[in-house]
């Protein structure tokens, strides 16, 4: 294992994770999801050779060389973790918000802002989808 490559890679990945979590907490979970995909793609687009080389670095080789672990794998692992965090954050936010709304306002029609509108449109779309399903029944 090349220690320098491992430390360098770890620092870059840690920075990436911090940026995404920062956006998730302070700005928007959707923006965080977009950033999660866009940053690696942007790097590949701007500096393809270096990025591909970086992603190809083999950090370790597990199970007697049977399972090589590249930065590609680490990126996918970070992705899966953060996608999970973002989705469940979103889901729990929605769930807890729904419970609150139902206590205050049983008709559930209080939302403002772009996010609320977006939620509303998504919710409406889902409702329509459910109606279609019900009609089919």
């Amino acid at each position: 294992m090349n220690i320098a490559a491992f430390i360098g890679s770890s620092m870059l990945f840690a920075l990436f994770v911090i940026v995404v979590l920062f956006v998730l907490i302070n700005m928007s979970s959707r923006l965080a999801l977009i950033i999660l995909l866009v940053i690696p793609l942007a790097f590949i687009f701007v500096i393809p050779d270096i990025s591909i080389a970086f992603l190809s670095i083999q950090q370790m080789s597990l199970a007697n060389g049977l399972v090589p672990v590249n930065n590609f794998h680490i990126l996918l692992m970070i992705w899966s973790t953060l996608i999970g965090v973002i989705l469940y954050t979103e889901f729990l936010t929605w769930y807890l918000g729904k419970g609150m709304r139902m206590k205050k306002n049983p008709d559930g029609t209080i939302k403002t802002g772009v996010s609320a509108k977006l939620d509303k449109s998504v919710y409406d779309a889902i409702e329509n989808f459910k109606d279609i399903l019900n009609r089919k029944k």
Partner: protein
């Protein structure tokens, strides 16, 4: 007849009137010549030229007296008593004078002189012509010719501070001191010239030369050589005593005597020393001093140090003899074998246990012995010979290293090597080297590769070679030399090359090539090459992503990269990477979103 009588008379007259004085008589003196200093114990003798002096007895009274006997040519002549006091001198028959120096501890010290006429004077300034008024200077004197009066010459001789006025006739000579004498050789009245020479006392000079010194001496033999003493001086040397000393051995004759050595004469002395036995070869130093006296008893001496090499008491000798192998020997390859004889000798007078080690060239194998090391005990003076045979596995030129013998003496281990063997031995024979190579060990079905056979004859004999290659079923023969029969000359290499085509995929070992060799004597041998590995791969049908990826992963997983941290050869474009990443992202998102989506739908429906 009358003429003959006249001639006879003339001869008689000439002999009667010719001055009998000649140069030699001037130079000789009738004196007591010092013969040497001797120290004698009771019964011991001093040997002189023609005389022997023996100490018969010493009586230790208030004044110790000694009784000496004189022999002339081994015949007893007389006995007399001497002491170290008033009666310390005895003259025998006007010829021999014995002077007692001391009588102490039953030993007597004597100076012995012999009366005889001996060369004393030598030329200082050779014969020189003088005219009236001429002068000549020497070491401490000055001679001036004042005038020539008829047949006499008037000379003024100044010696030191003294001045003498003399008138000399032709042939006159005069001794002015013990160190200076003048001789008027001839006065020529016609030319008014006087020929004068001056004389001074001569001196002996001792020169010592070593002769017959051998390069080295065996420890059980005498170190024996000659010492030649030469009197390089101008007068005889008397009472010569030669003393030999050596710290590393016993001198047989510590002192040797000789009575007289005339100028330019030589005397040979034989020196014999029994060296002490030592385990190492070393140089021993022998100091020999020679002393002698002139007629006045002045001492002259000289010394020489001689170095002689004495060998160790263990000696080793190695002898290598090359022999031809007999024709009925069926062995293939070399034609000579070697007999090696190692002789070890113990020259000491005690037994010694020794270990003899021999080293053979790496190509050699000894016959019938396991290793070339022998331990043995050598009795005093014993010689043992070890003999064995060895033969070379390959032809060429070889040199042999010396054999080594090791032994212990007083707790120390000593080793000695035999003399180096300068000779280079040639071994004739045949030696064939077979190399089999393939142009590539990886090939795809349908491809061709070259198989190369390289046969080298490294020997110095021509050799008959034949082979025929077997081609396995997975390959098919295309073109080239796959069989040959012929003669390969000594020192040459022949290369055979043939092409095969891969027919079926798999991992194979090419069968070994068998070479049949026959040398000039008809001896046969077979030789085989190595088996070569060959991997034949399936032919690639088309560009297959799956195959590519598989290969890529295989390569990646096969740890073919030397370092853990290595960059796989990313033969992939950025678009492909982006595609891969987007698809991976979408897949992960879809996968992770399954559970929350269903939860959302369920909750939404329940709490509608």
């Amino acid at each position: 007849m009358m003429r003959l009588i006249k001639l006879l008379l003339l001869t008689i007259v000439l002999i009667a009137f010719i001055n009998s004085a000649n140069a030699t008589s001037i130079r000789e003196e009738d004196i007591w010549i010092f013969q040497g200093s001797y120290e004698l114990g009771i019964g011991e003798r001093a040997y002189l030229e023609g005389f022997t002096v023996k100490l018969n007895d010493i009586s230790n009274g208030t004044v110790p007296t000694a009784t000496l006997l004189i022999y002339s040519n081994s015949v007893y002549m007389e006995a007399f008593e001497v002491d170290a006091g008033v009666n310390n001198e005895h003259i025998y028959d006007g010829e021999l004078k014995i002077n007692v120096v001391s009588i102490e501890n039953n030993r007597i010290s004597l100076n012995i002189y012999k009366h005889k006429s001996e060369l004393v004077w030598v030329t200082d300034i050779p014969k020189t012509a003088f005219k009236a008024g001429d002068s000549l200077s020497g070491n401490d004197y000055r001679i001036t010719l004042k005038a020539i009066n008829g047949s006499t010459a008037d000379l003024v001789v100044r010696v030191g501070e003294e001045e003498y006025q003399r008138t000399y006739n032709s042939g006159d000579y005069e001794k002015f001191s013990e160190d200076f004498m003048i001789n008027i050789v001839y006065i020529n009245m016609d030319t008014q010239e006087v020929f004068i020479e001056t004389l001074k006392p001569g001196a002996p000079q001792i020169r010592i030369d070593v002769g017959n010194l051998q390069e080295s001496y065996e420890p059980n033999d005498y170190v024996e050589y000659e010492l030649v003493v030469t009197n390089n001086g101008t007068i005889p040397l008397h009472g010569i005593i030669l003393t030999t000393e050596c710290d590393d051995g016993e001198v047989e004759l510590v002192t040797q005597q000789h009575s007289i050595l005339d100028p330019q004469k030589k005397k040979k002395f034989q020196i014999r020393i029994k060296p002490y036995i030592e385990p190492v070869t070393r140089n021993i130093t022998i100091t020999t001093s020679v002393e002698g006296y002139d007629y006045r008893g002045n001492k002259y001496n000289n010394q020489i140090k001689t170095e002689a090499t004495v060998n160790s008491y263990i000696s080793i000798e190695k002898k290598v003899t090359s022999k031809e192998k007999t024709s009925d020997n069926p062995e293939f390859g070399t034609e000579q074998y070697f007999q090696i004889n190692i002789t070890v000798t113990n020259k000491a007078d005690f037994q010694t246990a020794v270990t003899v080690t021999d080293v053979l060239p790496p190509e050699f194998i000894p016959n019938d012995i396991e290793n070339a090391e022998w331990s043995m005990v050598l009795a005093a003076g014993e010689t043992k010979t070890i003999g064995y045979f060895a033969s070379s596995t390959e032809p060429g030129n070889f040199t042999f290293e010396p054999a080594t013998v090791a032994w212990k003496d007083s707790g120390e281990t000593y080793t000695m090597q035999s003399n180096p063997i300068e000779e280079t031995f040639h071994v004739s024979g045949s030696r064939v080297i077979l190399q089999k190579e393939i142009s590539s060990s990886y090939m795809v079905v349908g491809e061709t590769i070259d198989i190369i056979l390289k046969v080298t004859n490294e020997g110095d004999r021509d050799i008959d070679i034949s082979f025929r290659e077997t081609i396995p079923d997975e390959l098919s023969y295309v073109v080239g030399e796959r069989e040959w029969h012929g003669t390969l000359a000594a020192g040459t290499t022949k290369e055979f090359r043939y092409t095969v085509k891969a027919e079926r995929a798999g991992e194979y070992y090419l069968p070994e090539t068998e070479l049949s060799l026959t040398d000039e004597n008809g001896k046969k041998e077979n030789m085989v090459s190595d088996e070569l590995f060959l991997y034949i791969d399936d032919a690639p049908t088309e560009v297959d992503d799956q195959y590519y990826e598989q290969t890529y992963n295989q390569l990646d997983a096969s740890a073919s990269y030397p370092s853990d941290t290595s960059v796989a050869d990313p033969d992939i474009t950025s678009i492909e990477v982006m595609k891969f990443l987007v698809s991976s992202f979408v897949s992960l998102l879809a996968l992770i979103a399954i559970v929350p989506t269903f939860a959302y739908l369920f909750i939404s429906r329940v709490y509608k």
